[in-house]
Homo-oligomer: 257 residues x 2
């Protein structure tokens, strides 16, 4: 989408997506780590070189359990959580074999020896943030929720939170990244320090929680498109803390007959 933005916009549409460079920072988890380090935000200790990771373990700098994940894409190949050196070595080898297979299939040319991230496993309270910039990449606002329950990687239950520390982090992210529109951010709070894990340059599965807690970003987008006055735009934001929502399944009849 980012690649064909100009072409699409010629057709009298507005494509609300960040530049290719910004998208690649979210897509490449090693770039994410480097970017966070550069702007001075906390993130889990991360290695891309197995030997360096092992050296760090031996030096006592990096501690088990660790998280192994593919550098690119959305962890469909499956994250591993080794708890010992033996498990790390086996997991790494296995993930490399699997990646090689999928890379060959996709005719990609990624460097296989730098395709797996070895990351410190952060234990803390999990948060999701919607960091919103306007269509020119100027920071607009941050809407945070504490994840109270997860279910296979998705937020099942969450509570809205308002804290100056979250606004500061969101502002730092938004103003340095200059992304366009909504960005879904995964974070962990450990002893009052917020660690950033992932940047998803899109509406994430957690957005409905922000929306229900009073941040109607969909309406904000429409107002921006209609070049509505900023004071009017802000009327769509009535974010309250302490609002808890839970996902709830029901069955919908979709029979053709």
């Amino acid at each position: 989408m980012a690649k064909h933005k100009n072409l699409l916009e010629n057709k009298n549409t507005k494509v609300i997506v960040s530049s290719e460079e910004v998208i690649s920072i979210g897509f490449d988890k090693w770039k994410t780590f480097k970017f966070l380090e550069e702007i001075g935000l906390n993130s889990p200790k991360t290695y891309i070189d197995l030997d360096k990771a092992i050296a760090a373990i031996e030096a006592g700098v990096l501690k088990f359990p660790l998280v192994l994940k593919p550098r690119w894409g959305s962890g469909s190949i499956g994250i591993e959580i080794p708890e010992t050196l033996d498990e790390l070595l086996l997991s790494y080898k296995l993930q490399k074999l699997k990646l090689k297979r999928s890379i060959l299939k996709n005719a990609s040319e990624k460097d296989i020896n730098n395709a797996i991230l070895i990351q410190e496993k952060i234990e803390g309270v999990e948060f999701g943030l919607d960091v919103v910039n306007d269509f020119e990449g100027n920071y607009f606002g941050t809407f945070a929720r504490e994840k109270l329950a997860m279910r296979s990687g998705e937020t099942d239950k969450a509570e809205s939170v308002i804290k100056p520390a979250f606004d500061e982090v969101g502002q730092k992210l938004g103003s340095h990244l200059k992304h366009i529109g909504n960005m879904d951010v995964d974070a962990f709070l450990v002893n009052d320090r917020l660690y950033i894990l992932e940047l998803n340059l899109r509406f994430g599965g957690g957005y409905p929680f922000s929306h229900e807690a009073g941040a109607n970003i969909a309406k904000v987008y429409i107002d921006w498109l209609n070049e509505v006055d900023e004071k009017e735009v802000l009327k769509n934001i009535n974010y309250k803390s302490g609002i808890s929502f839970s996902k709830c399944d029901r069955l919908l009849n979709i029979s053709h007959k």
Copy 2:
């Protein structure tokens, strides 16, 4: 629950659960395979001994991709799908290490060399079956649904199906197993042959689909408890084929304030 059934029933309650032996057939996936083989139902080729599995691969009897899964419990440790011999060996080693760790933690005494199943990966149309016996273990009925969409192991979309072949399989299962109440069964249909994968001796995540398609087993249970006439009980069953249901998320406000 099965273990303490007598104790609980002395307290003037009715515990609707199968015997310990029947529960163990569902819990131990190797026992499941042996049981299915014994009563002449199809199931994926399954090995519990790595060497025998490798011999079968070399003889061309067992083909990649394979499925590696822990013999006991609900696959929380994660299923592996090796596509080559190297991947099989690495996956097996890794899963063994992880099991050893969790077994040590749980002070279990399971035999670590027979704790991982190596199974043929069946490619076919996936079905879920509710096989219902009465509280004496007599076969009552089978309610089948085709799984149209899955989402992290759970059925997201399904359509009710009525086929004599499914009733036959369900009747065979129920009358041999003599379980109590509802059993959730995972199955694959390949060229008109139904392969049974797993027996879950409880209401499964798919039951709401059976319920919505006309099998009100909850009401059947209540009628049985009230010793209602069998003719009346059957009025709770109006199972129709071709009824499609989809899970649908909504957010529920659960704030305390």
